[in-house]
């Protein structure tokens, strides 16, 4: 009673901080609406990879290499599932406080999804972005599994039509371990709302500690994959006849189907990354509609302007560029911000995939650099600007300022003081670290593979096509 009285008299914020150490974290409660949302999100992110990405990529290669792309994507999906479940999840989402590199990667306490001791921890929970709102950890594990898989699959776009299948298998085992999981840890491993509120002393990921924002993986997924693909493209060198023989997409129909499924599934990716079925998931959805539409149209229009005709490939490329760019921004920016971001993304990526690419002359088969790396970087930086409430952004929640009710932290939590320079700097640092880690890590992975299996097929096999030479099948027997 007296305590209450004082609390009322003093400045509440001070009172709160004062109260903080005393107050404790809320119990995590799981809502079935959220569980359902995350089940679905997981399912449709899988849809993005198979058949989505497989078709988007496959349609752009020549008939003789179609199956190789499909096989690579599906095999990666399968391998990544196991790698993630067996050890990569643990590397990404456990604390590394016990070793010196905790801000780079976690530990092995949750290998085999925490089933080592044979028990089935069905009811383990993790916290969403709302304090006290829980989610079953295995669902989180499955959701993140699909991210690991699609990121790995995206990377191979850089060196399609010439890589050995054995190299792909090795890549799917090593790369998520050495490159993806650590970057996921750096960007997304943090103490969670309650942890921050209670001033947890756990070691968060490096990039998270910069204060860099990445709502759904612009950095973790797209920059990482884009850079890895680019490095691979350089290492393997150009396809035979690149620039001389025509290499038109063998089926833009399939590419369009793939792009459509990417858009559809991307709502699980972006809105799902909210981990909760609330207003922010809806904001992410709205932005994923608007930015994507804007980017598709802006690419189409600049192409119409500069190349004379609006092409389907241009339109779908813009759509994907928009999806990439809005990924880190989806839950942070407002719809108007998404509109602007989309328009810019379509134009910037267009120039990277046309003018700049041909100027530099590298053979990034499916433009994973021009679209994913560039779009991801653009999105990451733009997020730092457009999150600004003054620009219609949603602002940044400060979990150190959550309300305390009878000694327990709870919603609402306060907003972080926004400063554009600071935020942009944080975003830029995040981008740089990601680019560096992905470039170096991928290089290491390719080198190991090159030594053991070799990376590229023989000239003869490449000419015959990977479908027959590597898989002994033909895509179409009409």
């Amino acid at each position: 009673m007296a305590a209450l009285a004082t609390a009322v008299l003093v400045d509440p914020s001070w009172a709160q901080e004062a109260a903080a150490p005393a107050a404790k974290a809320p119990d995590l409660t799981v809502d079935k609406g959220d569980t359902t949302w995350m089940l679905i999100s997981t399912i449709i992110v899988l849809l993005m990879t198979i058949p989505g990405l497989a078709l988007f990529y496959g349609g752009m290669v020549r008939t003789k290499n179609m199956l190789s792309v499909l096989t690579q994507v599906l095999a990666i999906q399968a391998i990544a599932c196991l790698v993630w479940f067996c050890w990569a999840y643990s590397i990404a989402f456990t604390s590394g406080a016990d070793h010196g590199f905790g801000s780079f990667f976690g530990g092995f306490t949750k290998i085999f999804a925490n089933t080592v001791e044979g028990s089935v921890p069905l009811t383990n929970k993790v916290e969403s972005f709302s304090i006290g709102v829980g989610m079953y950890e295995w669902l989180f594990m499955c959701f993140q599994m699909t991210f690991c898989a699609i990121t790995t699959a995206l990377a191979i776009g850089g060196f399609a039509e010439r890589i050995k299948f054995s190299a792909i298998v090795a890549f799917a085992i090593l790369w998520p371990t050495v490159v993806y999981a650590p970057i996921a840890h750096m960007v997304w491993y943090w103490p969670g709302p309650s942890g921050v509120a209670t001033g947890s002393t756990d070691v968060p990921g490096l990039i998270w500690s910069f204060g860099a924002l990445d709502f759904a993986g612009g950095t973790v997924v797209h920059i990482t994959a884009g850079i890895a693909g680019f490095v691979g493209a350089i290492l393997l060198g150009r396809r035979l006849g690149y620039g001389k023989e025509p290499m038109p997409p063998h089926s833009l129909v399939l590419t369009m189907v793939g792009a459509s499924l990417l858009w559809v599934g991307w709502f699980g990716f972006n809105a799902g990354s909210n981990l909760e079925s609330n207003e922010y998931a809806i904001l992410a959805m709205a932005n994923t509609f608007i930015a994507t539409a804007a980017a598709g149209l802006s690419w189409m229009l600049v192409e119409w302007l500069f190349k004379g005709k609006p092409s389907l490939l241009g339109l779908v490329s813009g759509v994907v560029a928009g999806l990439v760019a809005v990924t880190p921004a989806s839950g942070f920016v407002g719809p108007m911000g998404a509109l602007v971001l989309g328009l810019v993304a379509g134009i910037v990526c267009f120039f990277f995939c046309t003018a700049i690419k041909s100027a530099l002359g590298y053979d990034d088969t499916l433009d994973v650099f021009g679209i994913h790396a560039i779009g991801g970087i653009l999105g990451a930086l733009a997020t730092g600007i457009l999150v600004d409430p003054a620009l219609g952004g949603a602002g940044i929640v400060d979990y150190a300022k959550c309300t305390v009710t009878d000694g327990v932290y709870g919603a609402p939590c306060g907003a972080l003081e926004y400063n554009m320079a600071t935020q942009l700097l944080a975003q830029a640092k995040g981008v740089l670290v990601t680019v560096a880690w992905s470039a170096i890590g991928s290089l290491a992975v390719y080198t190991v593979i090159a030594v053991i299996f070799g990376l590229r097929v023989s000239e003869e096999k490449e000419r015959e096509g990977l479908d027959i030479s590597e898989h002994g099948e033909r895509a179409y027997n009409m």
Binding site: P248, S311, A355
Partner: protein, 112 residues
Amino acid sequence: MKMVIAIIKPFKLEDVRKALDEIGIEGLTVTEVKGYGRQKGHTEIYRGAEYEVTFVPKLKLEIAVPTESVTRVMDTITSMAKTGQIGDGKIFVTPIEQTVRIRTGETDTAAL
């Protein structure tokens, strides 16, 4: 007997076939081919890459006919396949020394 080989624009096939029917040509064989010649192709652009497609789709008709009908067949084709625009195609006549109908073993014009 002669083999009349005609290269025509695809959308003219039905007209030609009907016309040949009327002059009693009961059979022919058609192949989808790509032609290169005076008729320009078109340019295709896929992201950065531009391709000059120099070949245009055509149909090749092969018609075995008794020597005496050659001229009539050629005239029929010429008149039906003509649009007056570049790319209408060509007709070539080559000799046939023997002909057999697989089903019956009949030979020469009886085989047509």
